[in-house]
């Protein structure tokens, strides 16, 4: 470790000795910052938001003016110390945006307390950017994926598992306050969310706004224009103070220190507080000073110092972990400034202690955030580029293959457009696509209606439909993919995807029928009472949709394979055999993918019919047993109807000789034995590649004086009958084996078990 530390390198792991003072500095500054946030929260109970913001900014601006001297600008002598007009305008924009974000932040603070505010808003920019990159640009490695996941879960936990005031504030609290807060309360009551949730939404949006703004063009232009972060910060603080000043002064004169109280506490007992908080200005001066120092000044200087000394993610990572920890620690002990007040007015003691208290959700979220920050700031090593070697400097070199480069160079819109075009271009996929759209629309309508009328049956049926749509999606995918051109790995093209998808769809149906069977069997013994007034209409509508689908797909089912001809031609380059698919052949070819989809739709239809019949029986006769009986029958029917599909697709996948061609192939091979010069054959393979493509391979032994090409073309024309897409003939003479022996080849592969000889040859 110590050897490494002597070299001034920018590596990810610093020696501890080097960074320990930085860490301590960071820790102290972050502790002070979270202290400042707590203080700020308390102050907000007494001072109006705008006023607090103004005074703290004013103090910070004074300090910045003293420390930074932004207007004199001694460092860059080239630029004049006075700013140009454009720069003023830009600064003005920048600062007003900053003010807006700070206001949002303060509102969030009043809503969900200092701890939650810290947990959300103090996420470092670096971490959030990494998360966004991981999600949208998929620049990720396992630890970053985990980080993103934890970050999301943490936010969700903070959002959902926190204790809240049970009822959302129906109307905004009475009292004097500014326009913004009024708008804000209107928004909250509009969305019917409680205070913590509203605050968290507010803070998350503020965080994103800030990050987006900090990486926008305006900030970059300003930084280069003004010569550095620090000057920009100083100037923008000053400008922010100036911008907020009129409002603050207006506030000051209109409502004299209004404890107006955006907190829940104050709204309930505002009279009590008003009587108590008539303090002098000096009473608030020191806390405001501290807030300003801790939140704006010290944090900024320490951050920039630390990130100058180390890598950028060092400060980001440790800083946010420290600030979280400090905030959680403070939340345990922060009660006592309250308690002082509590002694004064013991009436509201209980309320104070409950306010924004620590909950398990927050603690869990804290741990999740710490781990997420840790794993998101792990260095991203590109696994995908292959390592070539080292450059002359000594840094590793990677080569990115074309696939990785292509991935980033297409926009979402183009990709979607291309996919849609691909879907529309093929008959099968078009049909599936339209039906899928219809189904999805139906599901959507059902779900929304169910959500509005609060009907559980409708919602669960909607989920069921959505589940069924997944089979359609797979069928669509297979239909599209099967049209793709062959690649190096998929040397036969993607036609087999259809078979595989048919097989998976078959398995899907088997699983469905098993589940339905099990459920129905269970219900047979305890038939539940079903209220099915609404469901019968829904299942009738579903029946209509599915009948439409059956009509569409049964058409495709009987004429399936027409579209495959175009695909078949992609194999046509190498051999002279003819493969025109006459229209008469179409009946024998079956597209397993379409058959699977068809069966799926059929099963759905059966389900709807079953529901209608059983609910009719229940309504008319009160036979509650009808429902499980119907389900049993349907599940058995589904199972039986799937079996042929499964059998066929699995036999194709297992490379079985296709049943419809098996006899023909045998006869033809016998004919081959009669070709002049042919002595024997072995390793005769015929298998189905996809719905309409067949592949064969054969080894033929011929006599020494026969001519290979002649025999080959004769065999080709014999096997033409099979309409093969790919025929591979290995024509061997005796000398071939002698050559092999000369090469020292392992002849174990030439299995003599299957050699079939010509009979007259044997008799000789």
């Amino acid at each position: 470790m110590n050897d490494h530390s002597k070299q001034p390198r920018r590596t990810s792991s610093f020696a501890l000795n080097d960074v320990v003072h930085l860490l301590i500095l960071l820790l102290v500054s972050k502790f002070l910052k979270s202290f400042g946030i707590y203080l700020c929260y308390d102050l907000l109970k007494h001072i109006h938001i705008v006023q607090l913001l103004f005074f703290s900014l004013l103090i910070a601006a004074l300090f910045y003016l003293l420390l930074q001297r932004p207007f004199s600008n001694p460092g860059t002598s080239k630029k004049s110390s006075t700013l140009s007009k454009i720069q003023y305008i830009r600064l003005f924009k920048y600062s007003s945006f900053q003010v807006f974000i700070k206001l949002l932040w303060l509102f969030g603070l009043t809503q969900c307390g200092p701890l939650r505010t810290t947990l959300i808003f103090e996420q470092s920019e670096f971490v959030v950017l990494c998360a966004i990159k991981a999600i949208f640009l998929s620049q990720t490695n396992p630890s970053r994926t985990r980080g993103v996941f934890l970050l999301l879960v943490g936010t969700l936990v903070l959002f959902a598992f926190d204790h809240d005031r049970l009822q959302a504030p129906s109307d905004h609290p009475e009292g004097h306050h500014g326009i913004i807060s009024h708008l804000f309360y209107v928004l909250i009551s509009w969305f019917q969310v409680s205070d913590h949730k509203a605050g968290i939404i507010l803070l998350v949006s503020a965080l994103f706004l800030q990050i987006g703004f900090n990486h926008g063009s305006l900030t970059k232009v300003l930084i280069t224009d003004l010569g550095g972060h620090k000057r920009l910060k100083a100037l923008s603080t000053v400008f922010s103070a100036i911008i907020i000043a009129p409002w603050a002064i207006f506030n000051l004169f209109t409502n004299i220190i209004d404890p107006s109280a955006y907190t829940s506490l104050a709204t309930e007992d505002s009279e009590l507080l008003t009587s108590q908080t008539e303090h002098s200005w000096l009473y608030y001066l020191l806390p405001t000073l501290l807030v300003s120092l801790f939140i704006y000044l010290i944090d900024f200087y320490v951050d920039s110092y630390v990130s100058n000394k180390t890598e950028s993610n060092f400060a980001a990572k440790h800083g946010s972990i420290f600030v979280f920890t400090a905030s959680v620690g403070l939340s345990f002990i922060w009660n006592y400034p309250h308690l002082v007040k509590v002694m004064v007015m013991d009436k509201i003691k209980t309320i104070i202690e409950q306010e924004h208290a620590l909950s398990w959700g927050v603690i869990i979220a804290y741990f999740l955030f710490v781990i997420a920050t840790h794993s998101l700031s792990s260095p991203l090593i590109s696994h995908k580029g292959s390592f070539i070697g080292y450059s002359s400097v000594g840094s590793p070199l990677y080569s990115l293959t074309g696939e990785n480069l292509k991935k980033t160079s297409m926009s979402m819109v183009t990709v979607t457009k291309n996919i849609l075009r691909e879907i529309i271009s093929n008959t099968d996929s078009r049909k599936i696509f339209y039906f899928l759209c219809l189904n999805l629309m139906f599901t959507f309508v059902e779900l929304t209606y169910g959500a509005f009328t609060n009907s559980l049956g409708l919602i669960s049926d909607g989920f069921h439909m959505l589940f069924d749509c997944s089979a359609l999606v797979m069928g669509l995918f297979a239909a599209v993919v099967s049209q793709w051109k062959p690649t190096r790995i998929y040397s036969y093209g993607f036609g087999r995807v259809e078979i595989l998808s048919g097989f998976i769809n078959g398995l899907f149906l088997v699983v469905i029928s098993l589940f339905v069977f099990a459920e129905a069997f269970m219900r047979l013994f305890e038939p539940p009472e079903i209220k099915s007034e609404k469901l019968i209409y829904v299942s009738f509508a579903g029946l209509c949709v599915n009948l439409f689908g059956i009509f569409a797909f049964s058409h495709a089912h009987s004429h399936g394979g027409i579209s495959d001809d175009s695909h078949a031609h992609s194999h046509s380059h190498s051999h002279g055999h003819n493969h025109s698919h006459g229209p008469g052949n179409c009946s024998s070819s079956e597209n397993d993918n379409m058959r699977g989809v068809y069966l799926h739709v059929l099963a759905d239809t059966l389900g709807s019919v079953g529901v209608i019949i059983s609910s009719f029986l229940i309504q008319q006769f009160g036979w509650y047993i009808a429902d499980p009986l119907c389900s049993l029958c349907i599940s058995i029917m589904i199972f039986l109807s799937v079996l042929p599909l499964l059998k066929h697709s699995s036999s194709v996948l297992l490379l079985r000789t296709p049943e419809n061609k098996e006899k023909q192939f045998k006869n033809l091979v016998q004919k081959i034995l009669n070709v002049e010069g042919v002595l024997s054959y072995r390793d005769d393979h015929l298998w189905q590649l996809s719905s309409n493509n067949y592949v064969a391979s054969l080894h033929v032994q011929i006599s020494q004086d026969a001519y290979e090409q002649l025999v080959s073309s004769q065999i080709h024309s014999i096997l033409k009958e099979l309409k093969l897409n790919n025929l591979t003939l290995q024509i061997e003479k005796k000398i071939f084996f002698q050559h092999l022996q000369g090469l020292g080849a392992n002849l174990g592969q030439i299995d003599n078990a299957n050699v079939v000889y010509r009979q007259d040859n044997l008799n000789r």
């Binding site: 396992p142 994926t145 559980l456 919602i459 997944s470 190096r488 040397s491 993607f494 595989l500 998976i504 398995l507 088997v510 699983v511 190498s574 051999h575 002279g576 996948l653 297992l654 079985r656 000789t657 004919k671 034995l673 009669n674 070709v675 002049e676 002595l679 024997s680 390793d683 005769d684 298998w687 054969l698 006599s703 090409q709 080959s712 073309s713 004769q714 024309s717 014999i718 591979t728 290995q730 024509i731 005796k734 000398i735 071939f736 084996f737 050559h739 092999l740 080849a745 392992n746 002849l747 592969q749 299995d751 003599n752 050699v755 079939v756 000889y757 009979q759 007259d760 040859n761 044997l762």
Partner: protein, 367 residues
């Protein structure tokens, strides 16, 4: 019937058979417990045991397929059955997990009540049984798939975490750093999930936590099974194994420098079964080249990698000319009746590695 007697005769198959029966009993009882305790998480854990059950069936199938001879219909032999069976068991497990997810989403709108009394014993038992089945009953094809498929995201995360751990405590590196068996890992994580949800319920949290646990288990199961399904599915799709591409490229490049070879076309190499490869190749050669010599050389180069190899050697002019010329001569040939019987060489003769028909003018010289 013969299959049944085979099952009872073959020692390995018998072992698989007994374990399959035991595990089916376990599965049924687990289902009963999960049904009676109303716990979706336990039900979704049971599907992993069902996967084990399928793997045992796959073992029986393997030993059956090994005993079969290649018949006329399955010309490539029966070894491919194990690929298909593993693929279907992975897919079935994925589909069952999908079902659990769907059911979980439906439960989210419902209030459920989980009876936790039998949850922990059942899940401990299931975990131990699962671990025993994976470690104790040796299943070659499953091991092959586990070793050769790409790692699941669960494994990657586990590896990532354990790497970090080992950086802090190097002592664990022997234990944590090797590639973890994904199914074992899955069982462990799911067990931990169920135990955690049990603990949370005991601590007074909502019973919905069981549904969340079920969703988590289902997702991890899908994540673990997907690499298996992809690996076996790629075999079923007749793809060239990607790890062999560079090797095959090298061989073909070497072969293309042989005298007389002009080009290769229609190079198809695919996997029949785990580790058994098949391939076909068309070689275009110069008109004056010696076909048998070229064939022997190319064959020799590829035969080390590809087990079922067929090479088609052809010359350009011949195809063009013959398509016109040979229609007549071929039609004459067709008029012969195809009733001539054939003779199948005795397999016993091959085992003695002697050619059965040494008197014919065509002799295969065995090494």
């Amino acid at each position: 019937m013969t299959n049944l007697t085979f099952l009872l005769k073959n020692k390995q198959a018998k072992q698989f058979f007994y374990w399959a029966i035991i595990s089916s009993v376990v599965v049924l009882s687990l289902f009963y417990v999960s049904h009676s305790s109303n716990s979706l998480a336990l039900a979704s854990f049971t599907y992993i045991i069902i996967f084990d059950f399928f793997c045992l069936l796959n073992g029986i199938l393997n030993s059956w397929a090994r005993a079969q001879l290649a018949k006329s219909s399955f010309t490539f032999g029966f070894k491919r059955f194990e690929v298909l069976s593993l693929f279907s068991s992975a897919i079935l497990t994925i589909l069952a997990s999908f079902f659990v997810i769907k059911e979980g989403f439906e439960y989210l709108f419902d209030e459920i009540q989980v009876h936790t009394s039998r949850l922990i014993p059942a899940s401990i038992f299931a975990f131990l049984f699962h671990t025993f089945l994976i470690l104790g009953v040796k299943n070659d094809s499953l091991d092959y798939v586990i070793n050769s498929s790409s790692s699941s995201w669960l494994q990657e995360h586990f590896f990532d975490i354990s790497e970090t751990t080992c950086r802090i405590i190097p002592f664990f590196s022997k234990l944590l750093l090797p590639r973890m068996n994904p199914i074992l890992l899955l069982g462990f994580i799911n067990f931990v999930t169920i135990a955690g949800s049990f603990l949370l319920i005991q601590l007074g949290s909502s019973h919905m936590i069981d549904v969340y646990a079920a969703l988590l288990i289902a997702t991890t199961t899908i994540g673990t099974m997907t690499p298996f399904a992809i690996f076996t599915g790629k075999i079923l799709l007749q793809t060239t194994p990607s790890h062999l591409i560079t090797q095959l490229d090298k061989i073909l490049r070497e072969a293309s420098t042989l005298d007389g070879v002009l080009e290769f076309r229609d190079e198809h190499f695919w996997t029949i079964s785990f580790g058994v490869l098949a391939g076909s190749l068309h070689v275009r050669i110069r008109r004056d080249a010696d076909e048998q010599l070229v064939l022997a050389h190319v064959w020799h180069k590829l035969a080390g990698v590809i087990h079922h190899l067929t090479i088609h050697v052809f010359k350009d002019d011949w195809i063009r000319r013959t398509t016109h010329q040979l229609v007549y001569s071929q039609s004459n040939l067709n008029s012969f009746s195809a009733s001539t019987g054939n003779f199948k060489a005795n397999s016993n003769a091959i085992q003695n590695s002697k050619h059965p028909n040494t008197d014919s003018d065509f002799v295969i010289i065995n090494p």
